[in-house]
């Protein structure tokens, strides 16, 4: 049994919970998010030579970065940074959260998801900006919890990165 702790990090209402709701196995209700501030789900990803269970810690989204419970990230091997593609400010929130995590626990692999790609008419992130982030070698996916576009790809990529 190979498992890895992964934290889903992002601002308020960027769609983390929706991503989790449709694509992973879950036994806890979403009220845990508001009560305990975290909800735990599991995503099994089959890689060519093994299967890895990603234990996903879905942290309650906060635009107030100060109240982010960084202690929940302890022991994580990877991050899923989620940005709402229709609200440019959530990119800064996700990057700041990542910096906080790295300051506390050191660098760790991550994938950056620009979510809500189905809302093309309200898209607020320029291609230039995304390309610039890709130039840094970051793994970036434009996902949609609605259509499921690229969600599995992103989790597979992260599974590859954390088992290397």
């Amino acid at each position: 049994m190979l498992q890895k702790k992964i934290c889903m990090v992002g601002g308020f209402a960027v769609g983390k919970t929706s991503l989790v709701r449709r694509f992973v196995q879950s036994i806890f209700s979403e009220t845990y998010l508001t009560t305990v501030g975290v909800k735990i789900d599991k995503k099994s990803v089959a890689l060519p030579d093994k299967t890895v269970d990603l234990i996903l810690w879905d942290l309650a989204g906060e635009d107030d970065i100060g109240s982010f419970r960084v202690s929940y990230v302890r022991g994580a091997t990877g991050l899923v940074l989620v940005v709402d593609g229709t609200r440019a400010a959530t990119l800064a929130v996700a990057l700041t959260l990542r910096e906080r995590v790295e300051a506390e626990f050191g660098a760790m692999p991550f994938v950056l998801l620009f979510n809500k790609s189905d809302l093309a008419d309200r898209w607020a992130i320029s291609d230039g900006e995304i390309n610039e982030l890709r130039q840094r070698g970051w793994q970036i996916y434009l996902t949609s919890a609605l259509s499921g576009e690229q969600v599995d790809d992103a989790f597979r990529q992260l599974a590859l990165m954390v088992t290397k």
Binding site: Q3, K5, R69
Partner: protein, 856 residues
């Protein structure tokens, strides 16, 4: 060389004592060759000989040296010294070391004591609960037998529990290392559970700011407990159902300890791959095997059971034979009381039961009555002959079966007579009568006098009549004629189209609609309700009109245009013959013109009530409104007042002349604008008079007095008698100081010399202080800078030089922070000399800038 050797080592000195020392050449040579080394050497020697300096030098390097020393050797070397030091410290003052170790020991001690107390309470609880019970006695015996304490025995029997799951959770990441389950125990995904458990631990720790190393000890949910034991790298959570003893903590802790001992490095290196820790599961298994079940052992059940069996065998046979005889007698007496059964004979022989008699086929089956008596049916031998019982119950049953009475007939038994009541067709009554005659010999009486003869036709006619009378009570329906012929119903009459449909009233009456033949003529009912409906439909009254019925009269109320009133009047006339009265006298005629005129009048009255506006003339002509008059510029704008009055501004033609209203309110507004009273002054209107109260500078009071005189000619009273001159006593001194200051200049210069700078500094401070104090009192202070020149030279040049001097001082004061708008400048030339000009000294006194203070 000897000399050098002598100096380096004192021992050599003795050996070479014979060699003369005081050779001056040697000394010179020595100085030349090694003077630096000698001084360095003597410093080092000095350092080694002085304990304090040596200690300081070694102290500098000691921490570095200790850090670089091989650890094992250093530890060994230091150990005895440290031990002695600790010993000494404890002897001297145990308190110091206690304080140091306090935070380390306290949590462990606290936890240990807590568990011990829990254990004691648990033991006490259970002991008290069982002390006076049967178990209690039994357990006391067991305690006496085994030598254990009573409370131990109680706990052993009463604490029933089972460890259902054991989760070994990685402490850092919350990932599941291993999970084992007891047989038949189920749970959700253990990976998710273990992560959530550690999240909750974090949550509690964060939420209550708990710094301690330990985590959540116990979570309890009904019958289920979660116990968690925290180790250095992993947490062991056991899920226990039931009531576990406190010692279980120690057992679980032992398992955790063994796991840590066995796989400590693997636990530290754990990165989510649990294959490295496969052996752990076997150790966890020992946890879930822990349980205490409700114990049945200890009592010799087998012996007791066999003894009981012997006893039963001995006494059982006698009891059973007696009991079965009793049961048989109970059964027989029950049969004898059963109606329709007559027991003729019964006896018991050789354990078998024999019975014979008569029974009615409608009576209860004697065989079925056996069930529940515990008499074995196989031992019963019966002989029953059928007969017809004449008991009323049986006769009633037979009559019900043979006559099949209709639902409308009810059969019952009253005083041993069978009575039939209700309604039935004639044919059934005839059959019942025959049956009654047959019964008469010996049986009970069958009374059918209570059954009414009801033919279907009669019933239908009744229903029809109910329908007709229902129609007759309806408003707007008049039944003229109705009859029944050959099973068909005929009805004719009048109906109002607005009334209820007679056809729809048929439903629920059970009259067959197919057999109803109606002929309805429409007519207009003159009932007020119908007339109201028709009027509403034909007249379309506007929203402002309400129609209602008052004492059979139809009354219209509200407002309507005259066209509608005309139509309503015509309708009222048409109604007059025989119908209800239609009263439209309460409807007011409202034509658009009338309404517009009303709005206009409202606007005019609003204007007239406005202070500062005098309406001289107004007319309405050809749908246009004309108005003229006077208005004060400070009064409300008549145009703005139009809004909200619903008067069309395009149709309003105004001619307004401005005038000054003598209304005190307006006078006050004008005065405020023209006099600009200081803040310390208040204008108010008291009984039509304008009263000025407060403090003001003298010149403002003078202006106010002049205004009062002017106004009195117009008959307006402006009372300034309560005005007081502003009391600036505290400022007078400062004012004096400012006004006696002069800035002096050299001949022909417009900029004061450096010796004047302190004077300017002081002056600037005084001016600022004065201006600020004056502002606090509500007045503005202004400072007039007047430039002067001496009499030498041309007059025009002197005039311009004097003005330039004043400007220069203004600039210098401004530079020192005095607001420029407070400073006024003028040049006086030679016209206001300070001293008569007849000497050199006089000239220099007159070359100056003087300052005067004004308040307004």
């Amino acid at each position: 060389m000897i000399e050098i050797a002598r100096n380096v080592d004192p021992d050599y000195r003795a050996q070479f004592e014979a060699v003369p020392t005081a050779d001056p050449r040697m000394e010179t040579l020595r100085q030349l060759l090694v003077s630096r080394e000698i001084s360095e050497l003597s410093r080092v020697t000095h350092l080694l000989n002085e304990p304090e300096q040596l200690a300081a030098a070694v102290g500098d390097v000691l921490p570095g040296a200790a850090a670089r020393a091989p650890h094992s050797q250093l530890g060994e070397a230091l150990a005895p010294a440290v031990e002695r030091a600790v010993q000494r410290s404890i002897q001297k003052s145990p308190r110091t070391l206690t304080d140091i170790l306090y935070p380390v020991f306290l949590p462990a001690i606290r936890k240990s004591i807590g568990e011990k107390i829990d254990q004691t309470f648990q033991s006490l609880n259970e002991t008290l609960r069982h002390i006076f019970t049967w178990h209690g006695l039994k357990w006391r015996l067991e305690a006496w037998r085994t030598g254990a304490s009573f409370s131990e025995v109680v706990l052993k029997h009463s604490l029933v529990y089972r460890v259902e799951h054991a989760f070994l959770i990685h402490r850092n990441s919350g990932l599941l290392i291993a999970h084992v389950t007891a047989d038949n125990a189920t749970s959700e995904d253990p990976q998710l559970i273990s992560s959530m458990l550690s999240a909750i631990q974090d949550f509690v720790k964060d939420s209550f700011n708990e710094k301690e190393q330990s985590g959540l000890d116990t979570i309890r949910f009904g019958d289920l407990r979660l116990w968690s034991e925290v180790g250095p790298s992993a947490t062991l959570v056991s899920v226990i159902r039931g009531n576990p003893p406190e010692e279980l903590h120690e057992i679980v802790r032992d398992v955790l300890l063994r796991i840590h001992e066995g796989s400590s490095q693997a636990l530290v290196d754990f990165d989510g791959d649990s294959s490295q820790l496969a052996g752990v599961e076997a150790q966890l298994q020992t946890c879930v095997e822990l349980k205490q079940e409700g114990s049945n052992a200890g009592f010799p059940w087998l012996v007791a059971a066999s003894a009981l069996l012997l006893l039963s065998l001995a006494g059982g046979w006698f009891f059973l034979s007696w009991q079965s005889g009793q049961r048989w007698q109970t059964y027989v007496s029950r049969l004898e009381t059963e109606p329709g059964i007559i027991v003729a004979e019964q006896h018991v022989s050789g354990g078998q039961f024999y019975i014979a008699g008569l029974r009615d086929p409608l009576a209860a089956d004697p065989q079925s009555l056996l069930s529940g008596t515990e008499v074995d049916p196989a031992q019963v031998h019966s002989q029953w002959q059928f007969y017809q019982s004449l008991e009323p119950e049986f006769v009633l049953k037979r009559l019900t079966a043979s006559l099949a009475p209709p639902e409308t007939v009810r059969l019952s038994i009253v005083n041993d007579r069978i009575i039939a009541e209700g309604e039935a067709p004639e044919s059934w009554i005839d059959r019942a009568r025959v049956a009654a005659q047959q019964l008469s010999a010996g049986g009970p009486v069958f009374d059918i006098s209570g059954v009414r003869d009801v033919s279907p036709e009669v019933r239908e006619a009744e229903r029809w009549q109910a329908y007709v009378s229902r129609l007759e009570t309806q408003l707007g329906i008049v039944v003229a004629e109705q009859k029944i012929r050959d099973g068909q119903f005929y009805i004719a009459g009048l109906r109002d189209p607005l009334g209820t449909d007679p056809q729809s009233l048929l439903s629920g009456t059970q009259v067959d609609p197919a057999r109803v033949h109606s002929q309805w003529q429409f007519y207009q009912s003159l009932e007020p309700e119908f007339v109201l409906k028709r009027l509403t439909a034909s007249l379309y009254p506007p929203d402002t009109v309400r129609l209602s019925i008052v004492n059979d009269r139809i009354v219209a109320e509200g407002e309507a245009p005259d066209t509608w009133i005309d139509r309503a009047r015509a309708a009222a006339r048409q109604l007059s013959a025989g119908g209800p009265e239609f009263d439209i006298s309460k409807v007011r005629d409202v034509s658009p013109e009338a309404r517009a005129a009303e709005h206009w009048q409202y606007y005019v009255s609003r204007l007239e009530a406005q202070p500062g506006i005098i309406v001289a003339q107004q007319t309405v002509r050809g749908g246009h409104f004309y108005i003229s008059g006077l208005r004060d510029p400070l009064a409300a704008d008549p145009q703005a007042l139009l809004s909200g009055t619903k008067v069309d501004p395009a149709r309003v033609h105004s001619q307004w002349q401005f005038y000054q209203s003598l209304d005190p309110k307006f006078v006050v507004k004008r005065l405020t604008a023209s006099l600009t009273p200081p803040k310390s002054v208040q204008l108010s209107i008291i009984q039509g008079r304008i009263v000025v109260v407060g403090e003001a500078p003298a010149n403002w009071i003078n202006r106010a007095r002049a205004a009062a005189e002017q106004l009195s000619a117009d008959g307006v009273v402006l009372d300034v008698s309560q005005l007081r001159e502003l009391d600036l006593v505290e400022l007078n001194h400062l004012r004096q100081a400012i006004q006696t200051t002069d800035i002096f200049f050299s001949s022909g210069k417009v900029v004061p010399g450096p010796e004047q700078m302190p004077v300017l500094d002081r002056l600037a401070d005084q001016i600022k202080e004065f201006a600020q104090s004056a502002r606090k009192s509500g007045v503005t202070a202004r400072f007039m800078l007047t430039g002067h020149s001496d009499a030498t030279g041309r007059e025009t040049a002197n005039a311009s030089i004097s003005a330039a001097r004043a400007e220069a001082v203004r600039a210098l004061l401004n530079k020192r922070g005095v607001a420029p708008e407070l400073l006024l400048v003028r040049g006086a030339g030679t016209f206001e000399p300070a001293v008569p000009e007849n000497s050199q000294a006089g000239s220099s006194t007159n070359r100056r800038v003087s300052i005067t203070v004004n308040l307004d």
